[in-house]
């Protein structure tokens, strides 16, 4: 009932608005400032922002377009050859050439942006309102208070309300009333925004030199409140950032895991390091690109789902290339691991150059599907992107599949048997040659899936695999050979460790430190995290 009444009331109000003649005009006093000096122009713009009426917007947009001018203390708008009074909108009998146009500088432009934001606070779209509120929080001055208060009263959306409250609190921090400042300093403690923190810490500084130094904020009480608020904000920011770092470590770990799983399988089974493993990632990514192109030209309506369709394509393309590699080259290198490094490196050179010649040396453009773009915002500046979340889930899914394959199928049993003791497995009838090929196909296929995942977050180019092969091998070294569990722990651990180090020391130093860590780790545990116990592990 109440709501119905409100709607009726709204209807009447809007009708009333319509009923007012369109040229009912602005109070000329409001815009008289434009005829004055620079400071009064700024004040006039802000006043327009607070006013918020259609006429205020008209005048402001004219100013923005460079059509606002002054003719002997009178503010006018030019439109082609016509000159109109800015306040009333009435046509004036004078030539455009007589008008002294107001030129804009950066200060004025910023004021216009703020005023525009003040208008947008009442927009119908929540996104626009949020953006406007954020702008207000950054730029608003005390004169904007009425507009903000009006907006806050009308606002329903909780997120926008918070931003508006901060904007008001920020204005109040500069107020001359100590009680108002105290309240604002306390209220800002609820934020998790570094910008708010900076605002508060500005209060705790001193101006001037030596004995004449004065606190920016004169009241000790307000300073204490600000300090408490800063601590609260810092705690919240650091928690959010830690979570963010953990997450990016997790997502890096997932990529490493996808790259290393295949390597762990093939190295475990055959004792052959495949230096071309990174190129299998590249092939997976290129396969994804081709699927995207097909969808673009033939099934544009389903473009969002190309990633799903690319899963089998990436897997089987990479697996096929892997089988060819195994049959032609690696098969002949059993028991010669050092030489196999060189031969597979040769393969990787050929594959990279083939990709470069076929697709060109530039990076390919792969678009994230719409359902993978955007993210969850933990705090200001800490966003968990959807594409990374999907990749973490995808890696887990692949891991489960591989685990099931290794533990529950006959092929998996064979693979484990050959990994543990090749001659003995052969003696009891395991077709070791076929197991090798199958294991290599699966390992390569998983690398292809890794490439698919990488294509969603990183650049896709001919040499993209090179950056991951060393890291992936580190995972295998750390996790222990032929150990899925070891690979998982090592990949996630390395990913998270590397990301924390990165935040602390920068990416390059982090890489070097990780390397040093691995060398020291191998000193202690040459068999990896999960050493295989038993005689076959003893060399």
């Amino acid at each position: 009932m109440n709501r119905l009444l409100m709607r009726l009331a709204l209807l009447f109000v809007s009708l009333a608005c319509l009923a007012v003649p369109a040229r009912a005009a602005l109070d000329p006093a409001l815009i008289a400032g434009f005829a004055g000096d620079f400071g009064s122009r700024v004040a006039a713009i802000e006043a327009l922002g607070v006013d918020g009426s259609a006429d205020a917007r008209r005048v402001l947009s004219a100013l923005e377009a460079g059509n606002l001018g002054v003719v002997s203390e009178r503010v006018v708008i030019t439109d082609g050859d016509e000159v109109m009074d800015a306040a009333s909108g009435d046509k004036l009998e004078m030539a455009v050439t007589e008008v002294d146009t107001i030129t804009l500088n950066n200060r004025l432009r910023r004021s216009i942006a703020t005023a525009n934001a003040a208008f947008a606070l009442f927009s119908a779209s929540p996104a626009e309102r949020l953006a406007a509120a954020t702008t207000m929080r950054e730029n608003a001055t005390e004169t904007m208070t009425p507009a903000l208060e009006r907006a806050l009263a009308a606002e329903q959306d909780e997120a926008i309300r918070t931003v508006l409250e901060y904007a008001l609190a920020k204005i109040n921090l500069g107020s001359s009333d100590t009680a108002k400042r105290l309240k604002a300093a306390e209220a800002l403690g609820g934020s998790s925004d570094p910008a708010v923190k900076n605002m508060l810490s500005a209060l705790l500084e001193k101006t001037g030199e030596g004995k004449n130094a004065m606190w920016v904020e004169s009241s000790a009480e307000v300073r204490a409140a600000a300090e408490a608020s800063i601590r609260a904000i810092e705690r919240r920011i650091s928690i959010a950032q830690t979570a963010g770092t953990m997450f990016s470590g997790l997502s890096l770990g997932s990529i490493l895991l996808l790259a290393a799983l295949g390597l762990a399988i093939t190295y475990g089974v055959m004792g052959v390091i495949n230096m071309a493993h990174g190129e299998l990632l590249m092939i997976g990514a290129y396969a994804t690109f081709l699927v995207q192109s097909v969808f673009r030209s033939h099934l544009p309506a389903y473009l969002d789902w190309y990633v799903i369709a690319a899963i089998p394509v990436a897997f089987f393309t990479a697996a096929l290339v892997g089988v060819v590699m195994e049959r032609l080259v690696l098969r002949h290198l059993y028991g010669r691991p050092l030489e196999s490094l060189l031969a597979t490196w040769g393969l990787s050179l050929i594959l990279i150059q083939a990709a470069r010649v076929t697709f060109g040396p530039q990076n390919l453009e792969l678009a994230n599907p719409s359902w993978m773009s955007g993210g969850i915002e933990l705090a200001a500046g800490v966003v968990l992107p959807w594409n990374r979340i999907v990749i973490v889930g995808f890696a887990a899914f692949v891991l489960v599949l591989i685990w099931l394959m290794m533990q529950k199928t006959r092929l998996g049993m064979f693979v484990r048997a050959v990994t543990q003791n090749r001659p003995m497995a052969g003696c009891v009838g395991v077709p070791t040659a076929r197991v090798d090929t199958m294991a290599f196909a699966i390992g390569s296929g998983v690398a292809g899936l890794g490439g698919l995942a990488l294509s969603q977050i990183a650049n896709v180019g001919p040499a993209m695999g090179q950056g991951y092969i060393v890291d992936a091998f580190m995972v295998v070294v750390l996790g222990g050979v032929g150990q899925l569990a070891g690979a998982v722990w090592a990949a996630l651990g390395l990913g998270i460790f590397a990301k924390f180090l990165e935040g602390w020391a920068g990416a390059v130093i982090a890489k070097i430190l990780v390397l040093v860590f691995i060398i020291i780790f191998i000193q202690k545990r040459p068999q990896g995290i999960f050493a295989v116990k038993g005689r076959f592990a003893d060399s």
Partner: protein
């Protein structure tokens, strides 16, 4: 009674080896300098500055290949990070060359151009002494040596070997490359060191200086070959070979492989550093791309193409591959990676003993045909040896 050192040194190489070295020395110390300096431009035998630089570069690469062969061919340690030591030597000496530019840089400052560009006011501490030739020459050997010693000590002590060791060396050079790419490290970032003007006060582009550097590179190569030959025929060399073939057994006999491996590993790095210093002086540029893993793995392929464990094979391999590379990259650059890739595969699959192995096989077959001799005992020994290698290698892999 021990044979005197000089006699042992002389005995370490067959007479044909000494003759070949003498011929090589005559060509590189007299033949090519004369062809470059004396013969006029149009003359059929004239060696242009381009060719001289190319040959000098290849000589430096040959030294690196010999250093690689010492550790891979004789000690069974495959390093995929030797480019790092080469580049470290180059950087250490490049610092001196940068200082020799003096105020002739584009900013006319005492500091190297890139430091002026970064608005640095004074040289970082590690540039101290870089204006001294002797210190630079010492650093070019000591820096790679120290890095190799520390890394090798940790790695060999924990008995990291086989592919593990290879991959970790690769990671090492990769990490170093990333580090040197940064501007604030004081090594010129992406551009590295270049635009050298002088060495020891002489114009670095003058024909006489070029010839001198070329002859020095040849001397270094000869010294490397003699030293290498001496080492591998000495007791130390035999222990190294034993370590390569069956490390555990060597340990059970009572040797500590750590010392032997560490010695040859560090020596190899020092040789690379010296080659790097000469390389920079002749090519006139050093930048972090020299440390890329691809460069290091190419070094391994030089040794493999020539034939491991022969020293002369490494020299041949480096020569063949680099001549092919300069031919390909001039005529059909896009096919060079294909060629190199196929070379990697073909050598490992079909020529495990490289060009030298192929030559020996042909020679023994010829000898066998003419004399209809019984199966060569030497051949049986070689086969037994390769069996050992794969045996230990598989065990290493499963460790």
């Amino acid at each position: 009674m021990r044979t005197p050192f000089t006699v042992r040194l002389f005995q370490s190489m067959p007479r044909t080896g000494w003759i070949a070295l003498a011929v090589f020395a005559a060509i590189t110390w007299i033949g090519i300098p004369v062809a470059h300096l004396v013969l006029p431009e149009g003359h059929a035998l004239h060696v242009s500055a381009y060719t001289l630089t190319l040959l000098g570069k290849i000589l430096c690469y040959m030294v690196v290949a010999v250093a690689m062969d010492l550790i891979w061919g004789y000690a069974g340690i495959l390093s995929l990070g030797h480019g790092l030591f080469f580049a470290l030597g180059g950087y250490a000496f490049g610092m001196y060359l940068m200082r020799q530019i003096g105020r002739d840089g584009s900013y006319g400052s005492d500091l190297p151009d890139f430091m002026v560009f970064l608005d640095w006011k004074e040289l970082p501490w590690y540039w101290a002494g870089s204006d001294s030739f002797l210190w630079a020459a010492f650093l070019a050997m000591a820096l790679p040596g120290v890095v190799a010693f520390i890394f090798g000590w940790f790695a060999f002590r924990s008995r990291i070997k086989g592919v593990y060791f290879s991959i970790i060396t690769q990671a090492l050079t990769y990490a170093a490359m990333l580090y040197f790419y940064r501007n604030e490290t004081g090594f010129g970032g992406t551009n590295g060191f270049t635009n050298f003007k002088r060495i020891l006060g002489y114009d670095i582009t003058a024909p006489e200086t070029r010839v001198m550097l070329f002859a020095l590179s040849a001397a270094l190569l000869i010294a490397c070959l003699v030293l290498g030959r001496y080492l591998v025929t000495s007791r130390l060399g035999r222990i190294l070979t034993a370590i390569r073939d069956a490390e555990s057994r060597v340990m059970f006999i009572g040797y500590n492989p750590l010392h032997y491996k560490l010695f040859i590993w560090t020596l190899s790095a020092v040789l690379c550093g010296m080659a790097g210093a000469l390389y920079v002086s002749q090519i006139g540029v050093i930048n972090p791309s020299e440390m890329s893993p691809a460069n290091s793995i190419e070094i391994a392929v030089w040794a493999a193409v020539g034939g491991r464990g022969t020293l002369i094979g490494a020299v041949l391999g480096a020569g063949i591959v680099n001549l092919a590379k300069s031919y390909f990259t001039v005529t059909v650059p896009e096919y060079w990676p294909f060629f190199l890739g196929f070379l990697f595969i073909a050598v490992t699959l079909y020529l495990p003993d490289g060009v030298v192995g192929l030559w020996r096989k042909l020679m023994t077959r010829k000898a066998g045909d003419s004399a209809e001799a019984a199966p060569q005992p030497a051949r049986a020994a070689v086969e037994g040896k390769t069996g050992e290698i794969s045996d230990t290698a598989t065990k290493g892999a499963s460790a």
